[in-house]
């Protein structure tokens, strides 16, 4: 049941109504039943069973970890709990990829080993709650958190429906205490939650899906596209994935707000980042924090005697994991590897870069900041090519293609299926989203927003009207569902 479906528009008010009418002692039960119902609505019978398995296993390992006294037993239990979760993830997502590559290797070496073909399973949401379960166990091991004694609350922490399919990946300390807080109706939370939800719908249905039409037209037939179209197709995809995912996150945060729950904000203007490291502080924040804390930092500590080389290696390893997490394909592995490589290189050149800027006296120049934003955006876009392409041969074709060629006249920029009217809507909607980004941080604008009720209602109605008039071409599914 995606957030932008009619089913969800009926499901959410019904859940809220029951949640509101029952007492605090039963509210966790309502949300847990709703979350499993929400997951079961995907009509994949084994998915709720996998969620229940992860919940029971992680709950038990958490309790055993806390009770264990000997450091050796604790370590064994931690690795046991992590292995159980990783096994679930591998079984659900990576077996077809492993079997396919193993068969290619056996064929290459002419080995007589029979590797069976494995059918791909639907694994929506699994990588998100498995990562959350692993973070729960590690935090107990390091005594950052206590295990949750109430199985119901723990299962709800893993399965809470607004963040079940696509995150944010929540830390125990951030979400569990909120789930236990008694509910009191809060008008501001209700208003803000609904507005955020509608805003997310606008980003997804009006902007992301239109950009997707252009990106798909280019990327699904790249040999027919000219250089300018490939470049614009890549830019369109960069903004499509951002609007798609941040739109989803707004809807998740908006839904949770109705229940007085604040989920982690996943985005902070990522394309204004001035370095790739800065990009990862602004893009899919809950995930990058996870990768940083549970993969990068332990590896960096382990390899700290190798100094800069140790940090660089830890970065490449952490981002390769990040790539593989997104899915079982070489495109994702290369995408992660590229980000790892960008950051590993920066570890070596950063001190010299800083000295160079100081010598030139440009370290505080705004132009330097704009230049860094432009370079970072293009580095990120180059990596997106590998993320989006249908095959690696397509990616290599794009890398070899001269973007500036003789037939790059602007009149040829629009592609089949994407005419000037759609481009106009994208431009206007893009300006609206950018303006919101600026105004939401402006104190004067916020004062005016809070003071004039008529202005607020005008904006709410304009937003609804835009959704009704322009949301019809929505494709429905979200990109990050696949991960």
């Amino acid at each position: 049941m995606p957030f932008n479906s009619l089913d969800y528009f009926l499901f959410l008010p019904a859940v809220y109504l029951v949640f509101y009418l029952v007492g605090d002692r039963a509210r966790w039960g309502v949300l847990l039943a709703a979350s499993f119902g929400f997951y079961a609505a995907l009509k994949v019978p084994y998915l709720p069973a996998v969620l229940a398995l992860v919940a029971v296993t992680t709950y038990c390992f958490g309790i055993w970890l806390h009770r264990a006294q000997a450091p050796g037993t604790k370590r064994m239990l931690l690795w046991g709990g992590i292995a159980a979760n990783v096994l679930v993830l591998v079984a659900m997502k990576y077996l077809p990829f492993l079997s396919e590559n193993l068969r290619a290797v056996t064929q290459f070496f002419s080995l007589e080993l029979q590797v069976p073909a494995v059918r791909a399973l639907v694994a929506i949401g699994v990588s998100y709650y498995v990562f959350q379960a692993i973070s729960y166990l590690i935090d107990i091991y390091f005594e950052i958190e206590e295990p949750e004694p109430h199985f119901g609350y723990f299962a709800l922490y893993l399965s809470f429906f607004p963040k079940l399919l696509q995150g944010p990946i929540e830390r125990t300390g951030d979400l569990l205490p909120q789930l236990k807080t008694p509910y009191r109706f809060d008008y501001d939370n209700m208003r803000y939650g609904m507005l955020l939800f509608a805003w997310g719908l606008f980003k997804k249905m009006v902007l992301a899906d239109r950009l997707g039409i252009y990106a798909d037209a280019v990327y699904n037939d790249i040999h027919a596209a000219n250089g300018m179209q490939l470049l614009l197709g890549t830019y369109a995809y960069a903004f499509q994935i951002f609007m798609d995912f941040s739109g989803y996150t707004d809807m998740a945060l908006g839904t949770a707000r109705l229940f007085n729950i604040n989920l982690t904000q996943n985005f902070n203007s990522p394309y204004l980042a001035t370095s790739v490291a800065d990009f990862w502080r602004r893009w899919h924040i809950s995930f990058s924090r996870w990768i940083l804390d549970y993969i990068f930092k332990p590896l960096q500590m382990q390899w700290r005697d190798w100094r800069t080389w140790g940090t660089a290696l830890a970065l490449v390893a952490a981002f390769l994991v990040s790539g593989i997490w997104h899915g079982a394909s070489w495109g994702f592995v290369i995408w992660g590897g590229l980000h790892g490589l960008y950051m590993a290189c920066s570890v070596f050149y950063k001190p010299y870069q800083k000295k160079l800027y100081q010598k030139l006296g440009i370290q505080k120049s705004p132009y330097l900041k704009y230049w860094q934003m432009l370079v970072t955006f293009h580095l990120v876009c180059f990596a997106w090519v590998f993320f989006r392409v249908n095959s690696l041969s397509d990616a290599l074709y794009i890398c070899r293609f001269p973007f500036v060629s003789a037939d790059n006249g602007l009149h040829k920029v629009l592609v089949h299926g994407f005419h000037a009217q759609k481009a106009g809507v994208v431009l206007v909607a893009g300006v609206v989203v950018a303006a919101y980004g600026v105004l939401a941080r402006n104190e004067q604008a916020l004062i005016i927003w809070n003071r004039y009720c008529a202005l607020r209602w005008l904006c709410y109605n304009a937003l609804l009207l835009a959704l009704i008039l322009l949301g019809g071409e929505s494709q429905g599914h979200f990109i990050y569902f696949n991960f």
């Binding site: 005594e143 950052i144 804390d293 930092k297 500590m301 005697d305 140790g310 940090t311 001190p351 800083k354």
Partner: protein
């Protein structure tokens, strides 16, 4: 020399800034250039200066400079 002053020197050296003045309640947000990438350089410099070795658990659970100072004090005693 007092522990905090010696640690201050390490910070100045690692982050290449003579003006840094550390305090127990300060965190990475308060010091320019102290991010997750440079964090381990700081840890290695502290280990070398004080002749100590931190465990993974200690490094992962430092919340501010105060925690780092307490841990160094416990190890050098």
């Amino acid at each position: 020399m007092e522990l905090q002053e010696r640690l201050n020197e390490v910070f100045c050296q690692v982050f290449d800034d003579e003006d840094i003045r550390i305090a127990p309640e300060m965190t990475a947000d308060d010091i320019d250039g102290w991010d997750s990438l440079s964090h381990v350089n700081l840890i290695v410099a502290v280990e070398t200066t004080f002749g100590i070795r931190f465990t993974h658990k200690e490094v992962l659970t430092f919340k501010n400079i105060g925690d780092l100072l307490n841990c160094i004090a416990a190890k050098v005693q």
